[in-house]
Amino acid sequence: MCRRLHLYCLALVLLLPAPLWALEFNMPVGVTDTSQSIFNLHMTIFYICLAIAVVVFGVMLWSIYHHRKSRGHEAAQFHGNILVEVIWTTIPFLILVAIAIPSTITLGDLYDASESDIDIQVTGHQWKWHYKYIGEDVDFFSVLATPREEIENRKKKNPNYLLEVDNPVVVPVHKKIRFLFTSNDVIHAWWVPDLAIKKDAIPGFINESWTRINEPGLYRGQCAELCGKHHAFMPIEVKAVSESEYEAWLADQKAAQKAAMAAADKDWSMDELVKTGAGVYEKNCAACHQADGSGMPPTFPPLDGSSIVQGDKLEHMKVVVNGRVDKGMPAFGKQLTAVDIAAAITYERNSWSNKTGDMVTPAEVQDLMDKQ
Protein backbone atom coordinates (compact mmCIF):
# COMPACT_ATOMS: atom_id res chain seq x y z
CA MET A 1 0.00 0.00 0.00
CA CYS A 2 2.68 2.42 1.03
CA ARG A 3 4.73 1.54 -2.01
CA ARG A 4 1.80 2.36 -4.29
CA LEU A 5 1.29 5.67 -2.49
CA HIS A 6 4.95 6.48 -3.06
CA LEU A 7 4.75 5.69 -6.73
CA TYR A 8 1.62 7.70 -7.35
CA CYS A 9 2.89 10.67 -5.45
CA LEU A 10 6.29 10.56 -7.09
CA ALA A 11 4.69 10.44 -10.53
CA LEU A 12 2.51 13.40 -9.65
CA VAL A 13 5.49 15.39 -8.41
CA LEU A 14 7.53 14.65 -11.51
CA LEU A 15 4.67 15.66 -13.78
CA LEU A 16 3.89 18.89 -11.93
CA PRO A 17 6.66 21.07 -13.28
CA ALA A 18 5.97 19.97 -16.86
CA PRO A 19 3.48 22.74 -17.67
CA LEU A 20 5.82 25.20 -16.02
CA TRP A 21 8.68 24.28 -18.30
CA ALA A 22 6.45 24.45 -21.34
CA LEU A 23 5.93 28.16 -20.84
CA GLU A 24 8.57 30.68 -21.71
CA PHE A 25 9.05 32.19 -18.32
CA ASN A 26 12.60 33.25 -18.04
CA MET A 27 14.78 36.26 -17.50
CA PRO A 28 14.31 38.67 -20.44
CA VAL A 29 17.17 38.77 -22.92
CA GLY A 30 16.78 42.51 -22.96
CA VAL A 31 17.81 45.11 -25.48
CA THR A 32 21.30 46.11 -24.45
CA ASP A 33 24.65 44.37 -24.84
CA THR A 34 24.98 44.08 -21.09
CA SER A 35 21.52 42.66 -20.61
CA GLN A 36 22.39 40.04 -23.22
CA SER A 37 25.65 39.10 -21.57
CA ILE A 38 23.87 38.90 -18.21
CA PHE A 39 21.24 36.66 -19.80
CA ASN A 40 23.94 34.41 -21.26
CA LEU A 41 25.63 34.27 -17.89
CA HIS A 42 22.33 33.37 -16.27
CA MET A 43 21.68 30.55 -18.74
CA THR A 44 25.23 29.22 -18.43
CA ILE A 45 25.01 28.98 -14.65
CA PHE A 46 21.54 27.56 -14.93
CA TYR A 47 22.71 24.74 -17.20
CA ILE A 48 25.68 24.05 -14.95
CA CYS A 49 23.33 23.87 -11.96
CA LEU A 50 20.98 21.65 -13.91
CA ALA A 51 23.84 19.31 -14.82
CA ILE A 52 24.98 19.15 -11.20
CA ALA A 53 21.42 18.43 -10.09
CA VAL A 54 20.97 15.69 -12.67
CA VAL A 55 24.19 13.94 -11.67
CA VAL A 56 23.68 14.27 -7.92
CA PHE A 57 20.00 13.39 -7.87
CA GLY A 58 20.61 10.68 -10.47
CA VAL A 59 23.07 8.89 -8.23
CA MET A 60 20.71 9.35 -5.31
CA LEU A 61 17.63 8.03 -7.10
CA TRP A 62 19.61 5.15 -8.53
CA SER A 63 20.75 4.09 -5.09
CA ILE A 64 17.28 4.68 -3.63
CA TYR A 65 15.97 2.28 -6.23
CA HIS A 66 18.66 -0.37 -5.97
CA HIS A 67 19.86 -0.21 -2.40
CA ARG A 68 16.57 -0.81 -0.66
CA LYS A 69 16.04 -3.25 2.13
CA SER A 70 12.85 -4.39 0.41
CA ARG A 71 14.95 -5.54 -2.51
CA GLY A 72 17.08 -7.44 -0.05
CA HIS A 73 20.12 -5.22 -0.42
CA GLU A 74 22.63 -5.72 2.37
CA ALA A 75 24.26 -2.56 3.71
CA ALA A 76 27.95 -2.11 3.01
CA GLN A 77 29.85 -0.77 5.98
CA PHE A 78 32.37 1.67 4.48
CA HIS A 79 32.35 5.07 6.12
CA GLY A 80 34.91 7.34 4.52
CA ASN A 81 37.53 7.81 1.91
CA ILE A 82 39.96 10.71 1.89
CA LEU A 83 40.53 10.52 -1.85
CA VAL A 84 36.85 10.91 -2.76
CA GLU A 85 36.53 13.80 -0.33
CA VAL A 86 39.45 15.56 -2.00
CA ILE A 87 38.00 14.89 -5.45
CA TRP A 88 34.58 16.21 -4.65
CA THR A 89 36.05 19.28 -3.04
CA THR A 90 38.28 19.98 -6.02
CA ILE A 91 35.79 19.44 -8.84
CA PRO A 92 33.18 21.92 -7.52
CA PHE A 93 35.99 24.38 -6.93
CA LEU A 94 37.08 24.10 -10.55
CA ILE A 95 33.48 24.51 -11.72
CA LEU A 96 33.25 27.66 -9.61
CA VAL A 97 36.41 29.05 -11.17
CA ALA A 98 34.89 28.37 -14.57
CA ILE A 99 31.78 30.33 -13.57
CA ALA A 100 33.76 33.13 -11.95
CA ILE A 101 35.69 34.04 -15.09
CA PRO A 102 32.77 35.11 -17.33
CA SER A 103 31.04 36.68 -14.31
CA THR A 104 34.06 38.84 -13.59
CA ILE A 105 34.30 39.93 -17.21
CA THR A 106 30.62 40.90 -17.36
CA LEU A 107 30.86 42.75 -14.08
CA GLY A 108 33.87 44.68 -15.35
CA ASP A 109 31.87 45.78 -18.41
CA LEU A 110 29.11 47.10 -16.19
CA TYR A 111 31.60 49.37 -14.44
CA ASP A 112 32.75 50.97 -17.68
CA ALA A 113 33.32 54.66 -16.96
CA SER A 114 33.66 56.03 -20.49
CA GLU A 115 31.98 59.34 -21.23
CA SER A 116 28.20 59.30 -21.53
CA ASP A 117 26.09 61.16 -24.10
CA ILE A 118 23.07 61.86 -21.95
CA ASP A 119 22.79 62.10 -18.18
CA ILE A 120 19.47 61.62 -16.46
CA GLN A 121 18.94 62.06 -12.77
CA VAL A 122 16.37 59.66 -11.37
CA THR A 123 14.93 60.51 -7.96
CA GLY A 124 12.73 58.11 -6.04
CA HIS A 125 9.83 59.63 -4.16
CA GLN A 126 7.19 57.89 -2.09
CA TRP A 127 5.63 56.72 -4.55
CA LYS A 128 6.67 58.07 -7.91
CA TRP A 129 9.80 58.69 -9.92
CA HIS A 130 11.22 62.04 -10.94
CA TYR A 131 13.41 62.41 -14.01
CA LYS A 132 15.70 65.31 -14.75
CA TYR A 133 17.68 65.63 -17.94
CA ILE A 134 20.87 67.27 -16.73
CA GLY A 135 21.83 70.34 -18.74
CA GLU A 136 18.58 70.26 -20.71
CA ASP A 137 16.20 72.07 -18.39
CA VAL A 138 13.66 69.26 -18.70
CA ASP A 139 12.31 67.49 -15.68
CA PHE A 140 9.07 65.79 -14.75
CA PHE A 141 7.39 63.32 -12.43
CA SER A 142 6.32 59.93 -13.67
CA VAL A 143 3.29 58.55 -11.88
CA LEU A 144 1.32 55.30 -12.10
CA ALA A 145 -1.32 55.68 -14.81
CA THR A 146 -3.48 52.66 -13.96
CA PRO A 147 -6.91 53.88 -12.84
CA ARG A 148 -7.92 53.09 -9.28
CA GLU A 149 -11.05 51.34 -10.58
CA GLU A 150 -8.83 48.66 -12.07
CA ILE A 151 -6.82 48.21 -8.87
CA GLU A 152 -10.00 47.98 -6.85
CA ASN A 153 -11.48 45.49 -9.32
CA ARG A 154 -14.31 47.72 -10.43
CA LYS A 155 -13.10 47.75 -14.02
CA LYS A 156 -11.40 45.19 -16.26
CA LYS A 157 -7.63 45.36 -15.97
CA ASN A 158 -5.76 46.50 -19.08
CA PRO A 159 -2.74 44.50 -20.35
CA ASN A 160 -0.25 46.98 -18.90
CA TYR A 161 -1.91 46.94 -15.50
CA LEU A 162 0.45 48.47 -12.89
CA LEU A 163 3.22 48.83 -15.47
CA GLU A 164 2.06 52.10 -17.06
CA VAL A 165 2.93 55.68 -16.21
CA ASP A 166 1.73 59.09 -17.34
CA ASN A 167 5.15 60.37 -18.46
CA PRO A 168 7.62 57.74 -19.62
CA VAL A 169 11.29 58.61 -19.58
CA VAL A 170 12.31 59.05 -23.23
CA VAL A 171 15.82 58.20 -24.42
CA PRO A 172 17.51 57.77 -27.80
CA VAL A 173 18.81 54.40 -28.98
CA HIS A 174 22.53 53.72 -29.53
CA LYS A 175 23.61 56.47 -27.14
CA LYS A 176 25.33 55.95 -23.85
CA ILE A 177 22.88 57.05 -21.21
CA ARG A 178 24.04 57.53 -17.67
CA PHE A 179 21.47 57.34 -14.91
CA LEU A 180 22.13 58.98 -11.56
CA PHE A 181 19.99 57.63 -8.77
CA THR A 182 19.02 59.26 -5.53
CA SER A 183 16.00 59.41 -3.30
CA ASN A 184 13.87 62.01 -1.67
CA ASP A 185 12.83 59.91 1.33
CA VAL A 186 13.43 56.16 1.79
CA ILE A 187 15.47 53.72 -0.27
CA HIS A 188 13.93 52.81 -3.62
CA ALA A 189 15.40 50.73 -6.41
CA TRP A 190 15.04 51.53 -10.09
CA TRP A 191 14.67 48.34 -12.08
CA VAL A 192 14.04 47.81 -15.78
CA PRO A 193 14.60 44.14 -16.62
CA ASP A 194 15.09 44.74 -20.34
CA LEU A 195 17.97 47.09 -19.61
CA ALA A 196 19.32 44.85 -16.84
CA ILE A 197 19.61 47.87 -14.56
CA LYS A 198 18.70 47.60 -10.95
CA LYS A 199 20.18 50.22 -8.68
CA ASP A 200 19.24 51.47 -5.26
CA ALA A 201 18.20 55.10 -4.88
CA ILE A 202 19.49 56.16 -1.48
CA PRO A 203 18.51 59.39 0.27
CA GLY A 204 21.48 61.74 0.48
CA PHE A 205 23.72 59.79 -1.87
CA ILE A 206 23.93 59.22 -5.59
CA ASN A 207 24.53 56.01 -7.45
CA GLU A 208 25.05 55.56 -11.13
CA SER A 209 24.45 53.07 -13.88
CA TRP A 210 24.57 53.26 -17.63
CA THR A 211 22.89 51.73 -20.63
CA ARG A 212 23.04 51.79 -24.40
CA ILE A 213 19.77 50.57 -25.88
CA ASN A 214 19.93 48.73 -29.21
CA GLU A 215 16.28 48.64 -30.20
CA PRO A 216 13.54 51.25 -30.06
CA GLY A 217 10.63 50.22 -27.87
CA LEU A 218 8.82 50.63 -24.60
CA TYR A 219 10.49 48.93 -21.65
CA ARG A 220 8.68 48.56 -18.38
CA GLY A 221 9.93 48.10 -14.87
CA GLN A 222 9.08 48.58 -11.22
CA CYS A 223 10.50 49.76 -7.93
CA ALA A 224 12.39 46.82 -6.45
CA GLU A 225 13.08 47.93 -2.89
CA LEU A 226 10.32 48.00 -0.29
CA CYS A 227 9.63 51.71 0.13
CA GLY A 228 6.39 51.73 2.09
CA LYS A 229 2.71 51.42 1.44
CA HIS A 230 2.62 51.96 -2.31
CA HIS A 231 5.82 50.18 -3.20
CA ALA A 232 3.90 48.13 -5.75
CA PHE A 233 2.49 51.21 -7.43
CA MET A 234 5.47 53.16 -8.76
CA PRO A 235 6.31 51.61 -12.10
CA ILE A 236 8.85 52.72 -14.66
CA GLU A 237 8.47 53.13 -18.40
CA VAL A 238 11.47 53.75 -20.61
CA LYS A 239 10.69 54.75 -24.16
CA ALA A 240 13.62 54.25 -26.51
CA VAL A 241 13.29 56.19 -29.78
CA SER A 242 15.51 57.24 -32.67
CA GLU A 243 17.77 60.20 -32.10
CA SER A 244 15.68 62.56 -34.21
CA GLU A 245 12.52 61.59 -32.40
CA TYR A 246 14.32 62.14 -29.13
CA GLU A 247 15.41 65.63 -30.17
CA ALA A 248 11.84 66.42 -31.20
CA TRP A 249 10.49 65.11 -27.92
CA LEU A 250 12.99 67.18 -25.97
CA ALA A 251 11.94 70.31 -27.83
CA ASP A 252 8.29 69.47 -27.17
CA GLN A 253 8.99 69.07 -23.47
CA LYS A 254 10.66 72.43 -23.27
CA ALA A 255 7.74 73.99 -25.12
CA ALA A 256 5.23 72.19 -22.92
CA GLN A 257 6.90 73.44 -19.75
CA LYS A 258 6.64 76.96 -21.12
CA ALA A 259 3.04 76.36 -22.13
CA ALA A 260 2.22 75.20 -18.62
CA MET A 261 3.42 78.52 -17.34
CA ALA A 262 1.26 80.27 -19.91
CA ALA A 263 -1.79 78.13 -19.10
CA ALA A 264 -1.82 79.69 -15.67
CA ASP A 265 -2.73 82.98 -17.29
CA LYS A 266 -5.66 81.59 -19.25
CA ASP A 267 -9.19 82.03 -17.89
CA TRP A 268 -10.46 78.77 -16.50
CA SER A 269 -14.09 77.90 -15.85
CA MET A 270 -15.21 76.10 -12.73
CA ASP A 271 -16.25 73.01 -14.70
CA GLU A 272 -12.92 72.79 -16.50
CA LEU A 273 -11.06 73.05 -13.22
CA VAL A 274 -13.15 70.41 -11.45
CA LYS A 275 -12.78 68.06 -14.40
CA THR A 276 -9.01 68.50 -14.64
CA GLY A 277 -8.81 68.41 -10.86
CA ALA A 278 -10.47 65.01 -10.62
CA GLY A 279 -7.65 63.50 -12.68
CA VAL A 280 -4.93 65.35 -10.79
CA TYR A 281 -6.49 64.28 -7.50
CA GLU A 282 -6.65 60.65 -8.43
CA LYS A 283 -3.02 60.54 -9.49
CA ASN A 284 -1.48 62.61 -6.74
CA CYS A 285 -3.79 62.71 -3.75
CA ALA A 286 -6.01 59.63 -3.71
CA ALA A 287 -3.21 57.28 -2.62
CA CYS A 288 -3.28 58.82 0.85
CA HIS A 289 -6.47 60.85 1.13
CA GLN A 290 -8.45 58.17 -0.75
CA ALA A 291 -10.66 58.55 -3.81
CA ASP A 292 -13.68 59.32 -1.62
CA GLY A 293 -11.75 61.86 0.46
CA SER A 294 -12.02 59.73 3.61
CA GLY A 295 -8.25 59.62 4.19
CA MET A 296 -6.66 57.11 6.50
CA PRO A 297 -6.68 58.55 9.99
CA PRO A 298 -4.57 59.05 11.98
CA THR A 299 -1.78 59.20 9.39
CA PHE A 300 -3.64 60.72 6.47
CA PRO A 301 -6.46 63.09 7.44
CA PRO A 302 -9.79 62.98 5.59
CA LEU A 303 -10.48 65.85 3.15
CA ASP A 304 -14.19 65.18 3.14
CA GLY A 305 -15.51 67.65 5.70
CA SER A 306 -12.00 68.90 6.50
CA SER A 307 -11.83 72.34 8.08
CA ILE A 308 -8.92 73.35 5.85
CA VAL A 309 -10.71 72.30 2.67
CA GLN A 310 -13.94 74.01 3.69
CA GLY A 311 -12.14 76.98 5.22
CA ASP A 312 -9.98 79.80 3.91
CA LYS A 313 -8.82 79.35 0.31
CA LEU A 314 -5.37 80.79 0.93
CA GLU A 315 -4.65 78.40 3.80
CA HIS A 316 -5.73 75.47 1.65
CA MET A 317 -3.46 76.64 -1.17
CA LYS A 318 -0.53 77.09 1.20
CA VAL A 319 -0.86 73.53 2.52
CA VAL A 320 -0.90 72.08 -0.99
CA VAL A 321 1.87 74.30 -2.37
CA ASN A 322 4.23 74.14 0.60
CA GLY A 323 3.22 70.80 2.05
CA ARG A 324 3.29 69.84 5.68
CA VAL A 325 6.75 68.39 5.92
CA ASP A 326 6.20 67.38 9.53
CA LYS A 327 3.09 65.38 8.60
CA GLY A 328 4.31 63.73 5.43
CA MET A 329 2.38 65.98 3.05
CA PRO A 330 4.66 66.79 0.10
CA ALA A 331 5.10 70.37 -1.17
CA PHE A 332 3.22 70.03 -4.43
CA GLY A 333 4.38 73.49 -5.54
CA LYS A 334 7.58 71.71 -6.51
CA GLN A 335 5.88 68.84 -8.28
CA LEU A 336 2.82 70.10 -10.11
CA THR A 337 1.97 73.05 -12.31
CA ALA A 338 -0.12 75.95 -11.06
CA VAL A 339 -2.98 74.69 -13.24
CA ASP A 340 -2.90 71.24 -11.71
CA ILE A 341 -2.77 72.57 -8.18
CA ALA A 342 -5.61 75.03 -8.76
CA ALA A 343 -7.67 72.29 -10.37
CA ALA A 344 -7.07 69.80 -7.57
CA ILE A 345 -7.93 72.37 -4.91
CA THR A 346 -11.08 73.40 -6.74
CA TYR A 347 -12.03 69.74 -7.09
CA GLU A 348 -11.46 69.08 -3.37
CA ARG A 349 -13.50 72.10 -2.39
CA ASN A 350 -16.46 70.96 -4.47
CA SER A 351 -16.51 67.21 -3.97
CA TRP A 352 -18.11 64.78 -1.55
CA SER A 353 -19.81 66.75 1.20
CA ASN A 354 -17.58 69.78 0.55
CA LYS A 355 -19.84 72.24 -1.24
CA THR A 356 -17.99 75.51 -0.84
CA GLY A 357 -18.83 76.52 -4.40
CA ASP A 358 -15.64 78.54 -4.67
CA MET A 359 -12.98 78.21 -7.25
CA VAL A 360 -9.21 78.64 -7.11
CA THR A 361 -7.69 79.93 -10.33
CA PRO A 362 -4.26 78.98 -11.64
CA ALA A 363 -3.35 82.65 -11.54
CA GLU A 364 -3.98 82.76 -7.79
CA VAL A 365 -1.76 79.71 -7.26
CA GLN A 366 0.95 81.10 -9.54
CA ASP A 367 0.78 84.30 -7.58
CA LEU A 368 1.30 82.47 -4.30
CA MET A 369 4.17 80.46 -5.76
CA ASP A 370 5.84 83.58 -7.16
CA LYS A 371 5.49 85.54 -3.97
CA GLN A 372 7.42 82.95 -2.04
Binding site: A113, S114, E115, S116, D119, Q121, T123, H125, K132, I134, G135, R178, L180, T182, N184, D185, I202, P203, G204, F205, I206, N207, E208, K318, N322, G323, V325, P330, A331, G333, K334, Q335, M369, Q372
Partner: protein, 181 residues
Protein backbone atom coordinates in the same frame (compact mmCIF):
# COMPACT_ATOMS: atom_id res chain seq x y z
CA UNK B 1 44.14 31.39 30.65
CA UNK B 2 42.08 32.04 33.73
CA UNK B 3 39.36 29.46 33.95
CA UNK B 4 36.52 31.97 33.83
CA UNK B 5 37.84 33.39 30.59
CA UNK B 6 37.70 30.11 28.75
CA UNK B 7 35.28 30.05 25.84
CA UNK B 8 33.74 26.97 27.42
CA UNK B 9 32.62 28.77 30.58
CA UNK B 10 29.46 30.87 30.85
CA UNK B 11 31.42 33.96 31.82
CA UNK B 12 33.86 33.54 28.96
CA UNK B 13 30.94 33.22 26.56
CA UNK B 14 29.26 36.29 28.03
CA UNK B 15 32.48 38.17 27.38
CA UNK B 16 32.26 37.22 23.69
CA UNK B 17 28.67 38.43 23.66
CA UNK B 18 29.60 41.79 25.16
CA UNK B 19 32.53 42.16 22.77
CA UNK B 20 30.36 41.38 19.78
CA UNK B 21 27.76 43.93 20.92
CA UNK B 22 30.57 46.46 21.06
CA UNK B 23 31.77 45.28 17.68
CA UNK B 24 28.33 46.07 16.25
CA UNK B 25 28.83 49.69 17.27
CA UNK B 26 32.49 49.65 16.25
CA UNK B 27 31.29 48.91 12.72
CA UNK B 28 30.11 52.54 12.55
CA UNK B 29 33.56 54.18 12.68
CA UNK B 30 35.07 51.24 10.79
CA UNK B 31 32.58 51.85 8.01
CA UNK B 32 33.48 55.54 7.90
CA UNK B 33 37.14 54.69 7.52
CA UNK B 34 36.23 52.17 4.85
CA UNK B 35 34.15 54.75 2.97
CA UNK B 36 36.95 57.26 3.12
CA UNK B 37 39.43 54.79 1.70
CA UNK B 38 37.19 53.50 -1.07
CA UNK B 39 35.01 56.55 -1.71
CA UNK B 40 32.00 54.32 -1.05
CA UNK B 41 28.71 56.13 -1.63
CA UNK B 42 30.67 58.97 -3.14
CA UNK B 43 31.39 60.48 0.24
CA UNK B 44 33.73 63.40 -0.08
CA UNK B 45 36.29 64.51 2.42
CA UNK B 46 36.04 67.70 4.46
CA UNK B 47 37.72 70.98 3.52
CA UNK B 48 40.88 70.55 1.51
CA UNK B 49 43.91 70.91 3.78
CA UNK B 50 46.78 70.46 1.36
CA UNK B 51 48.66 73.16 -0.45
CA UNK B 52 48.26 72.21 -4.05
CA UNK B 53 48.68 75.12 -6.40
CA UNK B 54 48.58 73.50 -9.76
CA UNK B 55 46.98 75.87 -12.20
CA UNK B 56 44.75 75.20 -15.12
CA UNK B 57 47.38 76.16 -17.63
CA UNK B 58 49.48 73.20 -16.58
CA UNK B 59 47.02 70.67 -17.88
CA UNK B 60 44.94 70.19 -20.95
CA UNK B 61 42.90 67.37 -19.45
CA UNK B 62 39.36 68.68 -19.34
CA UNK B 63 36.81 67.21 -16.96
CA UNK B 64 33.07 67.74 -17.08
CA UNK B 65 31.59 68.39 -13.66
CA UNK B 66 27.84 68.25 -13.20
CA UNK B 67 25.98 69.67 -10.26
CA UNK B 68 22.81 68.21 -8.91
CA UNK B 69 20.68 69.70 -6.16
CA UNK B 70 18.10 67.68 -4.24
CA UNK B 71 15.75 68.49 -1.41
CA UNK B 72 15.11 65.62 0.95
CA UNK B 73 11.54 65.00 1.97
CA UNK B 74 10.40 67.87 -0.24
CA UNK B 75 12.07 70.44 1.97
CA UNK B 76 10.31 73.62 0.85
CA UNK B 77 13.38 75.43 -0.39
CA UNK B 78 14.17 76.32 -3.93
CA UNK B 79 17.58 74.80 -4.44
CA UNK B 80 19.44 74.73 -7.71
CA UNK B 81 22.95 75.00 -9.07
CA UNK B 82 23.71 78.16 -10.98
CA UNK B 83 25.36 76.06 -13.66
CA UNK B 84 24.32 72.48 -14.15
CA UNK B 85 27.44 71.52 -16.00
CA UNK B 86 30.89 73.06 -16.25
CA UNK B 87 34.07 71.95 -17.96
CA UNK B 88 37.37 72.62 -16.32
CA UNK B 89 40.96 71.50 -16.44
CA UNK B 90 42.26 69.26 -13.71
CA UNK B 91 43.95 71.27 -11.00
CA UNK B 92 42.08 74.48 -11.80
CA UNK B 93 40.27 76.18 -8.94
CA UNK B 94 36.66 76.92 -9.69
CA UNK B 95 34.05 78.91 -7.83
CA UNK B 96 30.39 78.28 -8.43
CA UNK B 97 27.15 79.02 -6.61
CA UNK B 98 23.99 77.24 -5.61
CA UNK B 99 20.88 79.39 -5.24
CA UNK B 100 18.56 78.76 -2.33
CA UNK B 101 15.30 80.34 -1.44
CA UNK B 102 13.31 79.40 1.63
CA UNK B 103 9.78 79.44 0.26
CA UNK B 104 8.38 78.27 3.58
CA UNK B 105 6.66 80.58 6.02
CA UNK B 106 9.04 79.80 8.84
CA UNK B 107 12.77 79.73 9.48
CA UNK B 108 14.41 76.43 8.55
CA UNK B 109 17.87 75.09 9.26
CA UNK B 110 19.23 72.82 6.55
CA UNK B 111 22.28 70.70 6.12
CA UNK B 112 23.64 69.87 2.67
CA UNK B 113 25.06 66.37 2.19
CA UNK B 114 27.48 65.94 -0.71
CA UNK B 115 27.88 62.81 -2.78
CA UNK B 116 30.02 62.17 -5.85
CA UNK B 117 29.48 59.73 -8.65
CA UNK B 118 31.29 57.72 -9.89
CA UNK B 119 32.39 56.98 -6.34
CA UNK B 120 35.99 56.32 -7.28
CA UNK B 121 36.21 60.00 -8.23
CA UNK B 122 35.13 61.17 -4.77
CA UNK B 123 38.65 61.26 -3.41
CA UNK B 124 39.86 63.53 -6.21
CA UNK B 125 37.28 66.25 -5.87
CA UNK B 126 38.68 68.66 -3.33
CA UNK B 127 36.54 71.37 -1.83
CA UNK B 128 38.26 74.47 -0.54
CA UNK B 129 35.10 76.25 0.44
CA UNK B 130 31.69 74.67 0.71
CA UNK B 131 28.31 75.51 2.18
CA UNK B 132 28.06 71.86 3.16
CA UNK B 133 30.68 72.38 5.89
CA UNK B 134 28.15 74.20 8.07
CA UNK B 135 24.48 74.04 8.90
CA UNK B 136 22.58 76.65 6.93
CA UNK B 137 19.76 78.59 8.59
CA UNK B 138 17.40 80.61 6.42
CA UNK B 139 14.65 82.94 7.58
CA UNK B 140 11.17 82.61 6.12
CA UNK B 141 11.30 83.78 2.53
CA UNK B 142 15.06 84.44 2.63
CA UNK B 143 17.12 83.84 -0.52
CA UNK B 144 20.86 83.24 -0.65
CA UNK B 145 23.73 82.19 -2.87
CA UNK B 146 25.79 79.32 -1.48
CA UNK B 147 29.38 79.38 -2.70
CA UNK B 148 31.48 76.33 -3.57
CA UNK B 149 35.18 76.45 -4.40
CA UNK B 150 36.80 73.26 -5.56
CA UNK B 151 39.34 71.69 -7.85
CA UNK B 152 39.93 68.28 -9.37
CA UNK B 153 43.08 66.46 -8.35
CA UNK B 154 45.13 65.74 -11.50
CA UNK B 155 45.62 62.21 -10.16
CA UNK B 156 41.98 61.47 -11.05
CA UNK B 157 41.89 58.00 -12.71
CA UNK B 158 42.39 58.26 -16.47
CA UNK B 159 39.12 56.60 -17.43
CA UNK B 160 36.98 59.21 -15.70
CA UNK B 161 36.09 62.21 -17.80
CA UNK B 162 32.80 63.22 -16.23
CA UNK B 163 31.70 63.35 -12.65
CA UNK B 164 28.66 64.48 -10.80
CA UNK B 165 28.55 66.27 -7.49
CA UNK B 166 25.22 66.06 -5.79
CA UNK B 167 23.99 67.99 -2.79
CA UNK B 168 20.95 66.90 -0.87
CA UNK B 169 19.44 69.39 1.53
CA UNK B 170 18.00 67.94 4.71
CA UNK B 171 15.74 69.86 7.03
CA UNK B 172 17.42 69.63 10.44
CA UNK B 173 15.42 72.36 12.18
CA UNK B 174 13.98 69.95 14.72
CA UNK B 175 17.27 68.22 15.36
CA UNK B 176 18.87 71.65 15.76
CA UNK B 177 16.16 72.93 18.09
CA UNK B 178 16.52 69.95 20.39
CA UNK B 179 20.19 70.75 20.80
CA UNK B 180 21.38 68.23 18.27
CA UNK B 181 21.61 65.44 20.80
Amino acid sequence: MKHWLKPSSPSGLMLIVVLMFGFGFALVPLYDVFCEVTGLNGKTNGAYQGDMNVQAANSDRIITVQFVANRNDNLPWEFSPQQEEIKLAVGAHKKTYFSVNNSYDRAVVAQAIPSVSPPQAADYLNKIECFCFQQQPLEAGEAKQFPLVFFIDPALPEDISKLTLSYTLFDISERDASGGD
